[in-house]
Assembly symmetry: C2
Homo-oligomer: 198 residues x 2
């Protein structure tokens, strides 16, 4: 990894662990092993470096979700894969946690990738639910609202898991939302249940 890359990855880790306010240029230098001169050679300062780090975490989040959303299988199977994906739950969401950073939210450039990523995931989930309604797999009156609830439950699951210090709480929240989604399955549709549970 070259120095620029090390700086970005170290900043991603620090933002994830400590947030923007808690991440000092000095801490970035220590974590990356880059000197002060080298850091300011590659980046004008903490905001520009944070933007590169946040943008990459946001891209990462989209890529993973996109792989799940475009996989083969029923709509419910793809949503289940998204909800049950293995996450580093106790570290929190690297993108979602930034919404608690007043400095990130106050800076339109830093906030943009956060806002766009959640809008993107929600829109994609909404299309997926609408597809399920169209094909008769699901009965969902308002796919956009349900998509928002799905993204929210993933994010809130992190909050509850961190509060309790247990990743199982996130898994339980996913169980709960999936049980509700299962009730929205159209009983007349001949869909297969990927987990063979219902």
């Amino acid at each position: 990894m070259d120095t620029r890359e090390k700086l970005i990855e170290s900043t991603r880790e620090l933002l994830w662990e400590r947030g923007y306010v808690g991440t000092s240029p000095k801490a970035i230098q220590e974590r990356s092993g880059a000197g002060q001169g080298s850091m300011y050679h590659h980046f004008s300062g903490k905001p520009e470096l944070a933007l590169a780090a946040i943008t990459r975490s946001a891209e990462d989040m989209r890529e993973r979700a996109n792989a799940e959303f475009t996989a083969r299988g029923t709509v419910l199977a793809r949503i289940t894969a998204y909800l049950r994906r293995e996450r580093e739950v106790l570290k929190g969401c690297p993108v979602g946690r930034l919404t608690q950073d007043p400095e990130v939210m106050a800076d339109p450039a830093l906030r943009r990738p956060v806002e766009e990523t959640f809008a993107w995931v929600t829109t994609r989930l909404s299309s997926l639910l609408a597809e399920g309604v169209r094909t008769g797999e699901l009965t969902i009156p308002d796919p956009a609202a349900t998509a928002t609830a799905l993204v929210a439950v993933v994010q809130g699951g992190y909050v509850l898991a961190r509060a309790e210090g247990s990743a199982q709480v996130h898994a339980r929240a996913m169980d709960g939302i999936l049980a509700l989604l299962a009730a929205a399955k159209n009983p007349a549709a001949a869909t297969t249940d990927p987990e063979g549970k219902s």
Copy 2:
């Protein structure tokens, strides 16, 4: 308000706006109008003051939820009141946001009220859902999991609303989860719909 009270309330506001890491003793003194000597007369330092502030925010959250959970009406009406309660959405949840504070999570004393509050709300919601199953109002296979999902969607709603800078996103997440809950209503039960929508 006496000085002790002003110190606690100022700390609550600052923790809500800026988190623990972002709240300095100096900022607390400025916000409360209390001098340094006065602050250290009432509290041994920032951790003790923060504990008083967090404990009060946690009690507040429980009291509000308790009022909604024990109100008259169907289980669904009471859960709807809890989910749709007016919240200062764009400020985030005063208790939930603390889970993103590494210092709060690392200190067992500061973390305890956060953990206990979410456990309490989840347990109460779970009992409420179980009551709905018992009376035949709802068909919910696992009330504890669904309760966890409900608390998670409220918390995640804050995250999404802050990301988009719009309180409507929280309302949309509530619409989405309530539509799923409505599908869990037992069609055979003679329950009344408090909103007259379905």
